[in-house]
């Protein structure tokens, strides 16, 4: 009798489950194979205002282009301003011109991504029009190796740094081809982790920054601006809740430093 009832319940469960599973199977196929119903419609209107803005205001303005990763973009600022919000505030004391910012920063961008972005040619006109180009790149290149063990870290670091420097070199070349005259500001890397990092990590970070600086300063109008020193003892004040990006105060401090470094150039231009 028991076997009989087990048999019936098995049969019932099997039938119901079979139907449910068949529906799920059908859905799974649809989801992974169905054609895309929404065409990329909102791509066209978004690019037009940008280029319109660029062509109309040409003479009496000072144009700044932000390139690179999330720091360039302004990620982490709780007031949502970042460099594009603060640089005009600090620059405006030095020049009567209108400060125009173009923010092309992309979260999580690595050096190869920046190079691809520039080589795609979409930014060529913007680059050519810029008076100052601010680059922040490399943080995402170096971040991936932090978790490795000491031995692998050293090796990986060399590999990453070599490829990074290669990409950066090409990137600068692309920028200089489009615009030989603009000021180029490169933001160095800082160390957002207060306790976790060892002396060894700091050494690697400094090596990275040093080599970057060498490369950037080869360009006559390039300037490497360190951030490590500014943030080292101020992590609590300048780092955002995500523990990685600068916060509003951090972006202000960095903007202030940048504006001081290029003060005379801006006044003279």
């Amino acid at each position: 009798m028991l076997k009989k009832s087990i048999w019936y319940s098995i049969m019932a469960i099997a039938c119901v489950s079979f139907i449910v599973l068949a529906i799920g199977f059908y859905q799974a196929i649809i989801v992974t194979t169905a054609v895309n119903l929404q065409p990329s419609s909102n791509e066209i209107p978004q690019t037009t205002p940008d280029s319109a803005q660029l062509t109309t205001k040409k003479t009496s303005s000072f144009k700044v282009l932000l390139l690179g990763d999330s720091v360039a973009k302004g990620t982490g600022d709780e007031k949502n301003k970042g460099f594009s919000g603060y640089l005009p505030e600090y620059f405006k004391n030095s020049t009567p011109k209108e400060i125009l910012i173009d923010n092309a920063g992309i979260d999580g961008l690595e050096s190869i991504g920046l190079l691809e972005q520039l080589q795609s040619g979409r930014l060529e006109k913007t680059i050519a029009d810029s008076d100052l180009i601010l680059i922040s790149i490399g943080g995402n290149d170096v971040r991936g190796i932090l978790t490795l063990n000491a031995l692998a870290k050293e090796d990986q670091f060399k590999v990453r740094q070599d490829s990074y420097l290669g990409y950066l070199k090409q990137t600068l070349k692309v920028i200089r081809t489009a615009n030989p005259g603009s000021i180029l500001i490169f933001l160095g890397l800082y160390d957002p982790y207060e306790k976790a990092n060892s002396v060894e990590d700091i050494r690697l970070l400094n090596t990275w920054n040093y080599n970057t600086q060498q490369l950037v300063e080869e360009d006559g109008k390039g300037l490497f601006i360190p951030t490590y020193d500014l943030l080292k003892f101020n992590l609590g004040r300048y780092i955002a809740k995500d523990g990685l990006h600068p916060n509003s105060a951090g972006y202000q401090a960095l903007s202030n430093r940048i504006s001081k470094s290029v003060e005379s150039i801006i006044t003279g231009s």
């Binding site: 076997k3 087990i6 048999w7 098995i10 049969m11 469960i13 099997a14 489950s17 079979f18 449910v20 599973l21 068949a22 529906i23 799920g24 199977f25 859905q27 799974a28 196929i29 989801v31 992974t32 194979t33 169905a34 054609v35 895309n36 119903l37 929404q38 990329s40 791509e43 978004q46 690019t47 940008d50 999330s70 973009k73 302004g74 990620t75 982490g76 709780e78 949502n80 923010n103 092309a104 992309i106 979260d107 972005q117 979409r122 930014l123 982790y193 207060e194 306790k195 976790a196 992590l235 955002a240 809740k241 995500d242 523990g243 990685l244």
Partner: protein
């Protein structure tokens, strides 16, 4: 004799042989171990995160999430983003918004997440092994114990006997998938709480020209996602079941048939290394078992390998082995 009572007979035979109980016990033990391990790992991850970020980022996840939401919104507004990454950003935003709205820490595990994860991991080796346990001696067991004679002397055509055996196998496959689902939902519920079935999960990845295409990614509720995962698991169960059913008829020795199908499955893991270079490997059934990877987008995109391709390959193997099974079984001489 009617087919229905033949199936009943077969199912009761399976229950008496305690095979199903065995499968049940294995599932209970393994799921408990996995759930405990998963619990342990997530505690550790949280501790590590807290240490690394210097702040109690795990408790402050709300502020972090709000910040990320603002960032992603800005990202969508940026004219320099390409359409592909926009869609995935939008999907990420929806998920995060759901977490914020429902006060769910994204680092937290849930029964629903675990249940889905479990089958995603089990689909290519563990589930097939369970199915093999049931399927491998359905016919060969009768041959080696001699009972096949008793079955065949009755006034029932041979194909009907084999069909009843095959349908029994399908029923048991449904039961195994059902049990796997129920058990992992219940057991992991004790560890992580029983909720999480409505949380959005991203799916809809496609491979276009050998690249992962995210332009049509969308969020589905977790219950629907895990339904899809378990449906694919059932399909895989039927495929593996059919193949081992065929081998069990061809080989006649239970031990040999289990050995053959198991080594084939394990070989599949090696073969998948050659997938991109060695074209013929993709027509093997073993390398196409990870169907759920197409749902989650977690596979290495390979030119020509899509959900439909994998399903067609598997379907081909299934139909092939059913045909061979029936032809061979009805034609063979049975000497005991």
């Amino acid at each position: 004799m009617k087919l229905f009572s033949l199936i009943e007979n077969e199912v009761i035979k399976m229950i008496s042989k305690k095979r199903l109980m065995f499968v049940l016990a294995i599932l209970v033990v393994l799921i408990s171990v996995f759930a405990y391990g998963q619990n342990h790992t997530s505690e550790k991850t949280k501790a590590q995160l807290a240490q690394r970020m210097g702040i109690t980022a795990t408790d402050d996840w709300r502020k972090l999430a709000d910040q990320q939401l603002i960032d992603m919104k800005n990202r969508l507004d940026s004219p320099y983003m390409d359409e592909n990454s926009k869609t995935s950003t939008r999907v990420r935003m929806e998920q995060l918004q759901y977490n914020v709205d429902n006060n769910i820490n994204p680092l937290e595990q849930s029964a629903a997440k675990f249940t889905t994860k479990f089958m995603e991991q089990a689909i290519f080796l563990f589930l097939p092994l369970l199915i093999i346990m049931l399927a491998a001696d359905m016919v060969s067991g009768e041959s080696s114990s001699g009972t096949i004679k008793l079955l065949l002397v009755r006034n029932v055509p041979r194909w009907k006997i084999l069909l009843s055996k095959y349908l029994t196998l399908v029923i048991l496959e449904v039961i195994v998938v059902f049990l796997a689902f129920m058990l992992s939902a219940i057991i992991s519920g004790f560890f992580f709480g029983f909720g999480g079935w409505l949380a959005p999960v991203a799916t809809g990845f496609k491979v276009i020209a050998g690249k992962l295409d995210t332009s049509s990614v969308l969020n589905v509720p977790q219950w629907q996602y895990s339904l899809m995962v378990y449906s694919l698991a059932f399909f895989v169960a039927v495929v593996v079941g059919s193949i081992s059913f065929m081998i069990s008829i061809l080989v006649k020795s239970t031990a040999a048939s289990i050995g053959i199908i198991m080594s084939t499955l394990v070989a599949g893991n090696f073969l998948s290394f050659f997938l991109s270079d060695w074209k013929i490997t993709r027509y093997m059934f073993m390398v196409n078992l990870r169907l759920t990877d197409y749902l989650s987008g977690s596979f290495q995109p390979i030119e020509g390998m899509t959900m439909l391709f994998s399903i067609s390959v598997l379907l081909g193997w299934t139909i092939g082995s059913i045909i061979i099974s029936f032809v061979y079984f009805t034609k063979q001489d049975i000497l005991v």
